[in-house]
Symmetry: C2
Subunit: 338 residues, 2 copies
DNA sequence: ATGAAAGCGCTAACAG
DNA sequence: CTGTTAGCGCTTTCAT
């Protein structure tokens, strides 16, 4: 298959028209006589003409590529999000490329530079890492969107989860089952968003008239191992909590493992609730009770929104909040009465 | 930051030389007088000049981008592989973009077309899905590489795992512990590679003088849920196997969940071995005994190899096999004696 | 060692 | 409605 790609010039001479007419027939069909258009498109299809992205980009400064930047693959809701983005984008003949920053600040900066270099039209940052993405490294006219991080103060569209609402539901769910000492494995709280999570948790406890015990909010990164370690810490306290809320299912996976390894019966002796309903959490041992959002839907919305921002850079700033619903499985039980 | 990128022309006039000299100073330093070069590079650095990829690509037909195509994010070894690829590539000033085919044949084809359109220089296909990647959709001069799939027959470099060797070790490990009835959750066996896996398993059993029981090889996809379902099937047999080998840790996660939900004690009543040592499997309940390869190392090698192929398209075809080592954790025990 | 000039494939004025 | 033309920013002959 050495046959090199067919160019607009060749299509033009085949159709017996000028190259600019071919260009118009493709990009602005309404500017071309129906008959000419037909003729041109016939050859376009026959030879499967594809515009050369380099040439097109050189001219238009657009690549028709959107990037999705994720901090890791461990938070498996990213898989569904990416699928949602993918399918929506394909509908509009855009491509999606994924970058994994591996929760590394330097790498994230590097990625932004690459994105700039590739003249990518829009970037979706999926949260997880502690930092505000270095969007200053991106051209101003690159569309930007945050998932799970509020960018309204820096003029970036955002799709955020109602973590507060979810936490409230989770706490309530636990309180009804007699839990009085609830701990939070918070993920990364070094950031502003992280701090907000802590605040949110405190408020939820307060609202439900539950005490906040010292050391019951533990700061971690995002791997299962981190969840394990946090749980070790929690369960070795003099009076261990009877329930643990983990900020992600992956964290909860580690929490379950650690609790079980200490011979805690789940959910009889310790209750655990996760967040995100990541693929696989229905298969944990035991299956995880978790807070679910529509990951695929969010991906879809994200793609729709970024396209809108690409086409209409000055349209109104959007911040959408997604609610979380509890999925009851087998990691929550009743706390023993005192 | 509206300031548009600085171009080679501007650098040229700043340095008082012709643009072609600037181009040479950057791309072929040896062709330029040391002094001129210094002068040019001074301005290059001062204004952080970056060549325009579109213009460069239009000329050279190269993008300095390598794509990594994965079938899912569930097999978490992809995370480490991607990191290995990333870091090696960055060293050579190449970018990596990731595509997720979501185990969808159509999507995979679409992705290949996008890769062609983007004029990506090299593509690394990480296995998992059942099919041979549609590399015929890629230009002939795009470097290609398979991970975990043998492409030697179609002239593609491959990095493959010694699955046979790993399986042999796993079977032996189990046999020593008195297991006589061992089942395999095989992942997808509809493909050639899959069939080979089945054969391999049969051989391993034979070698260790173990019987192959009917229905003890189960064909699945790659999600945890699939592992769960397979295990349900296995454990509901009249005489259930005492040990299960799962082709990936994710599959094993489901296997553990299903076994536990049927009140099997792990590892006392059922032993489970995974493959790949995916991040998180050390935190399963109980922590998973699994077969490990150097995922980061493979990613690194993959990047090195694809770069070589890009620079020297006609260099000798390479097929490297990576061995697997067992990591003993807590999911394997002794089978009861009969 | 350096400059001049052609051209990669495409889009978008500008004419007609 | 269509053709002509001028670049987009860069690399690479071909001269000098």
């Amino acid at each position: 298959m050495k046959k090199k790609d067919i160019t607009i010039t060749e299509i033009a001479s085949l159709s017996g028209v000028n190259i600019s007419t071919v260009s118009r027939a493709i990009n602005h069909p309404e500017m071309v006589a129906e008959k000419t258009r037909q003729k041109v498109m016939y050859y376009v299809r026959k030879y499967d003409y594809k515009p050369n992205l380099f040439a097109q980009g050189l001219q238009t400064k657009k690549s028709r590529i959107v990037a999705l930047v994720v901090p890791n693959f461990s938070n498996l809701s990213f898989a569904n999000i990416s699928k949602g983005v993918q399918e929506r984008l394909n509908l509009s003949d855009y491509s999606i490329v994924i970058f994994n920053s591996h929760e590394d600040e330097l790498l994230e900066r590097r990625i932004c530079k690459e994105i700039a270099k590739l003249h990518i039209d829009g970037v979706i940052f999926a949260s997880g890492s502690s930092l505000i993405p270095p969007i200053d490294l991106l051209p101003e006219d690159t569309a930007k969107l945050f998932i799970d991080r509020d960018g309204s103060d820096i003029n970036v569209d955002s799709l955020i989860f109602d973590f507060a609402g979810g936490l409230d539901k989770a706490v309530k769910h636990l309180k009804v089952r007699n839990h009085r000492k609830i701990a939070l494995i918070a993920g990364d709280i070094s950031s502003y968003t992280g701090q907000e999570k802590v605040l949110t948790f405190k408020k939820a406890l307060q609202k439900h008239e539950l005490p906040l015990h010292p050391n019951c909010i533990v700061d971690t990164l995002w791997s299962a191992k981190e969840g394990w370690n946090a749980t070790e810490k929690l369960l070795s306290m003099e009076e261990a909590p009877t329930a643990i809320i983990a900020a992600t299912d992956t964290l909860a996976l580690g929490a379950i493992g650690a609790a079980a390894s200490r011979e805690y019966k789940i959910p009889e002796e310790i209750s655990i609730v996760g967040f995100n309903n990541e693929p696989g959490s229905e298969c944990f041992n035991p299956p995880l009770t978790t807070m679910k959002f529509s990951d695929y839907g969010i991906g879809n919305d994200a793609a729709t929104l970024i396209l809108k921002r690409i086409y209409q850079p000055d349209s109104e700033l959007i911040t959408t909040k997604y609610s979380l619903e509890i999925i009851e499985r087998n990691t929550v039980g009743n706390a023993r009465n005192y």
